[in-house]
C-alpha cells in the first residue's frame, strides 16, 4: 500500500541544504579513505559513497527527537541526522573527543542526543532497538518516530524479520529503510532472496514501496509521507531504496582494492549519481544562483579540513581509563582486570 498523499518538496534553501549534506557525506568518506591509507585510521571503514540520497532524503523528514538505528556503513546516516564531522573523525581516529570517546570506532559511532542510536557491526541488529524507542514515544504520547536503516543483506536476518512483525502488531511509529545496493559484500541480492524485497515487507503488513535511492527528492517524498502517517498513528512502513555503492565493500590499509562487479553496471549507476542529479535539477529550475555550487563545495571542504584537524589534535584515551564506561555502577573488583 503506497502512501496516499505525496508531500510537496520544501523550499529551495532546504533543497540546497540537501545538496550540501550529500556533498558533505561524500567528501567525509573520501577523506576517511585517505586517513586509512595514511595510517591515521586503524581498522576498516565502510564507505557510503553512492548512497547519499537515501540517508539525506530520509533524515530530511526527521527532527532531532526522532531516532535512527544504523549499520556497519553508518557514517552517512549519522551525518545526515546532523552528526558533527569533527567528533566523527575524532572517533574514527580513536580520540577521547570522539563521539564515543574512542571506545566505538567507525562501526559504533552514536550521538544519543541527536537520536542516533549508533552504527552497528552486526547486520540487522539495530532494528529492534528502534522499535523499543518507538514504543517509549508512544507510551509517553510523543509524536516521534524511529527509522532503522539496514542493507539488502539484512533482509535474511531473523531479527529484522521478527522486527517487521513486531512493528506491525504493535502499530509502532517506525519507518524501515532498506538500502538495496544490490550486494552483500560479493553476493548479489538476487542469489540469496526470491521476489522483491518490498513485497516481502508488505506480506508482514507493512505499508511498503520501492523508491529510486539515487533521487533525494523521491526518497524525501516517500519518507515524509511515511513519517507523517506514523506520527499520526498510522503505523509502520517500509521503504526499499535502490542505489549502489561506488566503492568496495570496505577499505583497510594495505588490502588490495579490486572490484569484481561488472564495469558496465558500475558505469551505469555512476551515470545516475544523486548529487549530480540534484545539482542539475537545482540549476535547471533556477533554484540556486550561478556559483552557489562551487561556494558550497569549498565550504564543505573547509569544514572537512577543520574536522580532520580537530581530530588529529585531540588526545588518545589514557590507558588507565580502559575500564571506564563498562558499567554505570561499578563495585569493588568489577570490572575485573588484575588481582583484585
Amino acid at each position: 500500500m503506497p502512501p496516499s498523499t505525496t508531500p510537496d518538496l520544501p523550499d529551495a534553501e532546504t533543497q540546497i541544504g540537501w545538496y550540501q549534506r550529500m556533498r558533505l557525506l561524500r567528501r567525509f568518506e573520501q577523506n576517511a579513505v585517505e586517513l586509512v591509507d595514511e595510517g591515521d585510521i586503524i581498522g576498516i571503514v565502510h564507505e557510503y559513497v553512492g548512497e547519499e540520497a537515501i540517508a539525506v532524503g530520509a533524515c530530511a523528514a526527521l527532527t532531532e527527537h526522532d531516532v535512527i538505528t544504523s549499520t556497519h556503513r553508518g557514517h552517512g546516516h549519522i551525518l545526515a541526522k546532523g552528526g558533527d564531522p569533527a567528533r566523527m573523525y575524532a572517533e574514527l581516529l580513536g580520540r577521547e573527543t570522539g563521539y564515543n570517546k574512542g571506545r566505538g570506532g567507525s562501526m559504533h559511532i552514536a550521538d544519543l542526543d541527536l537520536g542516533i542510536f549508533g552504527a552497528n557491526g552486526i547486520v540487522g541488529a539495530g532494528a529492534p532497538m528502534g522499535l523499543g524507542a518507538a514504543h517509549m514515544f508512544k507510551l509517553r504520547g510523543e509524536p516521534h518516530v524511529a527509522v532503522p536503516f539496514f542493507g539488502d543483506g539484512a533482509m535474511n536476518q531473523g531479527v529484522l524479520l521478527e522486527s517487521f512483525n513486531l512493528a506491525v502488531i504493535m502499530e509502532l511509529p517506525v519507518i524501515f529503510v532498506c538500502e538495496n545496493n544490490g550486494y552483500a559484500i560479493t553476493t548479489p541480492i538476487g542469489e540469496m532472496t526470491r521476489g522483491e524485497l518490498f513485497e516481502r515487507a508488505a506480506a508482514f503488513g507493512l505499508a511498503a514501496e520501492a523508491v529510486d535511492g539515487m533521487d533525494v527528492r523521491a526518497v524525501y517524498r516517500a519518507a515524509a509521507a511515511a513519517v507523517a502517517r506514523a506520527r499520526a498513528g498510522g503505523g509502520p512502513s517500509f521503504l526499499e531504496c535502490r542505489a549502489y555503492r561506488y566503492s568496495l565493500h570496505n577499505v583497510a590499509k594495505g588490502v588490495p582494492r579490486e572490484d569484481d562487479r561488472p564495469a558496465a553496471e558500475q558505469a551505469d549507476w555512476r551515470g545516475r549519481d544523486a548529487i549530480e542529479r540534484l545539482a542539475g535539477e537545482l540549476t535547471e529550475e533556477g533554484l540556486w544562483p550561478d556559483g552557489a555550487r562551487a561556494e558550497i563545495d569549498d565550504e564543505v571542504d573547509a569544514e572537512i579540513e577543520g574536522a580532520i584537524g580537530f581530530a588529529r589534535n585531540s588526545r588518545r584515551p589514557d590507558p588507565d581509563s580502559v575500564l571506564d564506561h563498562m558499567y554505570a555502577v561499578t563495585y569493588p573488583g568489577l570490572p575485573a582486570a588484575g588481582w583484585e
Binding site: 552486526i122 523499543g132 524507542a133 555502577v329 563495585y331 573488583g333
Partner: protein, 323 residues
C-alpha cells in the same frame, strides 16, 4: 508472625511494587499477560497492556526492543520463559546490550533486567530445558544474581530493576514454589554482597540458588560427626563479593565450590582460581569443585541425576577434605 510467601509470589510482589513506583518500568515476554499464578500475575490488569507487553515468540527482537526502550528512558524487564532461551537472543544480549554502554563511551546507561525463569534441571526436562547458563552471561560482563530465598528474590528483583546496567536474575526451577519470610515494604538487596547462610569453621562450601539448601542439609548431616561447615552464598555472582569469599576461606582454610553449572569455565572454576590467587596461604587443603558434568543434561532420571551436583558428592568431598 512474619509473613511467608512463595519465591514466585515474592517476585510478583517485587514487580508490582516496581511498576507502581516508577512509570518508566515496562516488561516484555511471552505469555506474561492474563496469567493467574505466575510471577507476572495481575500486572497487566494493574498497569496496562502498554507496559506489560505480551510478545510474539521472537526473543532476539524483544531483547533488542528492550535495549532500545532503555536507551529511550525506559526501565524494561525482559522475561525469558526458559533459561536456555537466552541462547536464541545471544546476539542482542552479548553483542548489543552488554557491549553498548562501553562502546557508546558512557553516553547513556542501559537499565535492563533479564528475568530468567525456571533455571536449572527440574527433573526430566532434557537437554534444552535444563541449563543454568549464567556463566555465559557473566563471561560477557552482564551482572548476574541468583536469589536463593523468597526474601532475596524480592529484594534482588527490585535491586536489578533499579540498577542502571543490564542485570540478569536467574530464578531456579527448584525454588519457585518454596516459601519463606518476605517483608511487605519495597526493599533492595544489594548486589555484590555474599551471605553466610550457616556458620562453621572447618570447611567453606560456596553454593548459590537451589544448591544453598542442599549444602545446608549436607552441613547438618556431617555436623553429627563433628564436622563444621560454613555455607557461603554469593547471592550476586557478578559483581562477586570477593572480600566476603576471602574472609570465609581465611576462617576455614578449606573450600568446596558446589555449583550447578558446567565444570569447564564455569562459576566454580572462577571461584577456585580467585581463591587460589588470593588466599593460597590460607588453604590447608586443595580446593574441590562439585559441579555439573560437562555433558548435555540427559533425559532419563538416573543419568540426569548422575550429571548434576548432588548432596552425596558434596558430602563425600567434605568428608574427604577432613579425612
Amino acid at each position: 508472625m512474619a509473613r511467608e510467601l512463595t519465591y514466585i509470589a515474592a517476585l510478583n510482589e517485587a514487580l508490582h511494587q516496581s511498576f507502581a513506583a516508577d512509570p518508566s518500568v515496562i516488561m516484555v515476554g511471552e505469555n506474561i499477560r492474563g496469567v493467574k499464578r505466575s510471577e507476572t500475575a495481575g500486572l497487566d490488569g494493574a498497569f496496562g497492556a502498554d507496559r506489560v507487553i505480551d510478545m510474539p515468540i521472537s526473543e532476539p527482537a524483544f531483547t533488542g526492543f528492550a535495549t532500545g526502550a532503555a536507551l529511550s528512558g525506559g526501565r524494561p524487564i525482559v522475561e525469558f520463559q526458559v533459561s536456555s532461551l537466552i541462547f536464541v537472543a545471544f546476539d542482542q544480549l552479548v553483542n548489543q546490550a552488554a557491549k553498548l554502554p562501553l562502546m557508546l563511551g558512557g553516553q547513556r546507561h542501559l537499565p535492563v533486567t533479564y528475568l530468567i525463569m525456571g533455571a536449572g534441571a527440574g527433573g526430566g526436562r532434557a537437554g534444552q530445558h535444563s541449563d543454568n547458563p549464567y556463566p555465559f552471561l557473566m563471561h560477557a560482563g552482564i551482572k548476574t544474581v541468583i536469589p536463593s530465598t523468597p526474601k532475596d528474590a524480592k529484594g534482588l528483583m527490585i535491586a536489578a530493576i533499579r540498577e542502571d546496567d543490564p542485570v540478569a536474575l536467574f530464578a531456579p526451577a527448584g525454588l519457585l514454589r518454596r516459601e519463606g519470610e518476605v517483608p511487605e515494604e519495597p526493599y533492595a538487596t544489594p548486589l555484590g554482597e555474599g551471605v553466610v547462610r550457616r556458620a562453621g569453621d572447618q570447611i567453606t562450601v560456596v553454593a548459590s540458588g537451589n544448591l544453598v539448601r542442599k549444602a545446608i542439609e549436607v552441613a547438618e548431616t556431617v555436623a553429627a560427626d563433628g564436622i563444621s561447615v560454613e555455607v557461603w552464598d554469593p547471592v550476586s555472582l557478578l559483581p562477586l563479593d570477593k572480600a566476603g569469599l576471602a574472609e570465609t576461606v581465611a576462617k576455614t582454610g578449606r573450600l568446596v565450590v558446589f555449583d550447578d553449572s558446567n565444570r569447564t569455565c564455569g562459576f566454580a572454576a572462577e571461584v577456585s582460581s580467585l581463591v587460589a590467587e588470593r588466599c593460597f596461604h590460607d588453604l590447608k587443603a586443595p580446593i574441590k569443585r562439585i559441579t555439573r558434568a560437562d555433558v548435555t543434561t540427559p533425559f532419563s532420571n538416573p543419568i540426569e541425576y548422575a550429571s548434576l551436583p548432588g548432596r552425596e558428592r558434596l558430602e563425600a568431598a567434605v568428608r574427604a577434605l577432613l579425612a
